[in-house]
């Protein structure tokens, strides 16, 4: 069920557990699905030089990022037998312990969703122009880099 329209993946602030729960509930009508897999990226309170990360402030090159998310979506539907997939990424401030990335894939069978989810998350990390500024408790900051 791929659609050609480019969606806006970004949400302002953290992604709430209610939003995630509602997304799962909405799929109960899609009874061809036998397996869901979900990735939740959570902001980690890293300690760097004795300073603790209290939040990440996300910015993005939004038009290019949404186009990239769309390409990833198309590639995932091409590669894997998916019934549906959803991606949401935060912009703005997300505190340590809150969710900043929510990827949700569904398929008739389980093996597909394990592989698809890893492919999607790894490609997002590598290819999408999103920038995270790690804010420390003393309000200084450093720029996060994905490995």
């Amino acid at each position: 069920m791929t659609d050609k329209k480019i969606k806006n993946v970004f949400r302002q602030g953290a992604i709430s557990s209610e939003f995630i729960g509602d997304s799962i509930a909405k799929h109960q009508t899609k009874t061809s699905i036998g397996a869901h897999n979900i990735f939740l990226g959570q902001v980690r309170a890293d300690v760097i030089d004795n300073k603790t990360v209290s939040a990440i402030e996300y910015t993005a090159y939004e038009d290019m990022a949404n186009a990239k998310f769309h390409e990833i979506r198309e590639a995932a539907f091409e590669k894997f037998e998916l019934t549906c997939m959803h991606i949401y990424h935060s912009l703005g401030t997300v505190k340590a312990g809150e969710i900043c990335l929510f990827v949700f894939v569904s398929s008739p069978r389980r093996k597909v969703v394990f592989e698809a989810l890893e492919f999607i998350v790894e490609t997002i990390k590598a290819d999408v122009p999103v920038f995270g500024k790690e804010i420390f408790e003393d309000e200084s900051h450093q720029w996060k880099v994905n490995n």
Binding site: D63, K125, F131, N146
Partner: protein, 77 residues
């Protein structure tokens, strides 16, 4: 041609702005980059990729686009 240049993350911290427009008559991305370096010398110490009309390009690419973006290392998710 009139080119819109967008800066992100730590690059925008150096330029102190998120975008600007400038009239530029060079041919290659590398020429535009030299021009940008002449305005913001400390960008030479920064790691970034360049996108032209939302596609990553190399320094040898011909300038064709209206929108150039300087993108520091990605850190989504």
């Amino acid at each position: 041609m009139l080119i819109r240049i967008k800066y992100f993350g730590q690059i925008a911290e150096v330029t102190q702005k998120e975008e600007e427009s400038l009239e530029f008559s060079g041919v290659l991305i590398s020429e535009l980059l030299e021009h940008i370096y002449s305005k913001y010398n400390t960008l030479k110490n920064k790691d970034f990729q360049i996108a032209q009309n939302q596609e990553l390009v190399s320094l040898e690419t011909e300038l064709s686009g209206k929108e150039i973006a300087l993108l520091p290392p990605f850190s989504g998710g």
